[in-house]
């Protein structure tokens, strides 16, 4: 099958592309970032998904399936065009899938869609509305992109559309929201809070995406791996030193010193858990993760 992958130069994008090739698919990659050492069998186009040349790739290459991963993570990316990439990119992707006869579309989103709050249930199911988008402007565009992507389910019923809400990825790449947060030797935590973090090995995440493709999944699904672990436990297991900072100090402006990369509302994500129920995905696909919680953290820790 001919599979087009947007955001292919990202960590997860590369892993997905490699998996697809292993399974004998033809992979067409689109990314505005370069992928210098991409395997020769991947047809690589360095375009922005929102621009005309990307549409030409759909027009001329006519993929049967497409996977959209060209979204910008909210916690670390401060660029002003984040909202444009996430929303207009998603719109262009869905539009091209429809116009150029793509049979199956997968949109890869994040579990942070549900938001973090003191009174939310521990396991979120797919039917829950995003209750905390208003408290977190940086998250709002991802929530909007997720809901917009879901609208393709009824807008274009002829396309098998699947929206995946995947938990934080972690692994040897050291990339991703959680990986970046754990990068330094000392990791700031909010004193007196220790939320569960839900994460999955990046290879397991790539496998889940490819599994969704092979099962022609239709609908919105949460994707998770092992059961969640408190952030302080993750920090220690990763060989980092936890550094608890009182929330009042963070609010008083020490945020710039302690958590320079995080927008203010991200503090809630260090106080309250976002944990998802992925039973529906497992039932629909038979998917099972390979790396448990400790193996996943060890893989992150051992990588240079």
């Amino acid at each position: 099958m001919k599979v087009l992958v947007t955001g292919v130069a990202g960590t997860l994008g590369r892993l997905v592309a490699m998996r697809l090739i292993e399974r004998g698919h033809d992979v067409i990659g689109i990314d505005r970032r370069p992928w210098a050492d991409a395997p020769e069998s991947i047809e690589m186009y360095q375009y922005d998904i929102r621009k005309r040349p990307a549409e030409d790739v759909f027009r001329t290459r006519r993929p049967q399936a497409a996977i959209h991963m060209a979204t910008v993570t909210h916690l670390v990316h401060k660029s002003a065009d984040r909202m444009r990439v996430n929303l207009y990119g998603t719109r262009a992707f869905i539009h091209h899938c429809h116009t150029y006869g793509v049979k199956q579309a997968i949109l890869v989103g994040r579990h942070t869609y549900y938001g973090a709050a003191a009174d939310s249930p521990l396991y979120h199911t797919e039917d829950e509305p995003p209750m905390s988008a208003h408290t977190f402007a940086e998250l709002a565009d991802l929530v909007a992109a997720d809901l917009y992507a879901s609208s393709a389910l009824w807008r274009y019923p002829e396309i098998a559309t699947c929206v995946l809400r995947i938990v934080y990825t972690l692994g040897p790449s050291k990339h991703g929201t959680l990986g970046s947060y754990l990068r330094g030797p000392t990791v700031p935590l909010v004193m007196g809070f220790d939320p569960l973090f839900h994460f999955i090995h990046e290879e397991d995440a790539a496998n889940a995406i490819v599994t969704a493709l092979s099962r022609k999944l239709h609908g919105v699904y949460n994707v998770s791996g092992p059961s969640p672990v408190p952030i302080s436990t993750i920090v220690r297991a990763a060989g980092r030193r936890p550094f608890p900072v009182p929330a009042t100090l963070i609010n008083l402006g020490l945020r710039r010193l302690a958590l320079p990369k995080l927008p203010p509302a991200a503090i809630d994500h260090l106080k309250y858990p976002i944990v998802v129920d992925s039973d529906a995905f497992k039932r629909a696909t038979g998917y099972q993760h390979r790396y448990d919680e400790r193996e996943t953290i060890d893989a992150f820790r051992a990588a240079r």
């Binding site: 009174d119 521990l122 007196g192 809070f193 969640p228 408190p230 302080s232 929330a247 309250y272 400790r294």
Partner: protein, 278 residues
Amino acid sequence: MLDNLLPIDPEVAARIDALDLSFNTFGIDPYGIDKNDLTRFVSAFAWIYRHYFKVDVYGLENVPSRGRAILVGNHSGGVAIDAAMVMGSMLLDAEPPRLPHGMIDKFIHRFPGASQLMSRTGQFAGNPDQAIRLLRDDRLVLVFPEGARGTAKLAKDADTLVGFGTGFMRLALETKSPIIPFAFIGGGEALPTVANLKTLGRLIGVPYIPVTKWGLPVPKPTRFQLLYGKPMVFEGSGHERDEVCGEMVDEVKTRISDLIRQGRQLREKNITEADLVL
């Protein structure tokens, strides 16, 4: 979190081992309960439960030793000593021990420290989705249908009941869980509230601050009575009209009032254990 702070009591450790929970390689269960933290915390709490307070527990055999169930009881005392003593009886007296998941007021999770402790010991903000999930997972859920109105009772009203919500009944019907009514006596003596400071409480983010005869909301050593009644099973879908659900709630409320009355008589030594109708 509690490493190096609190020592482990070997007897408590054996009881935590006997809990019907599955822990991952970090000793964390799927709901975030930390085996090590729970053991250390209960070890310290065991002293309070057995020596600072004394609890006479009756009808412990009425709580199922496995499977889903909802413990429903009265609030008594300006802070949730009642919940702590129910925890104590289930973890330290029941055979086999069980961990009740309290449905606590959501303000507690906004406080540093408290949030962490509650999360690691399986105490969740009272959220119906959360409760249904726990019950479907055959856990034991602890509910005080009076809510914060119940802990706010003044000492003179400690053995009365204020309005019950219907949420617990809908949970029971939807998940087909038995309700175990219980009465807790003595909270009003341990912490005799003479007034509640609501405005000051709101300023720091709690519903109220109780003022006791001696000022501070610190309970004095007290002997409590804790009575578990026979399981009550109701039939329905959980989506009944309020009037229908309300009648079932009244049945439970009446049962708890009766248990309170008997507990009061025990406390005043007007009856003995043999006279109890649980």
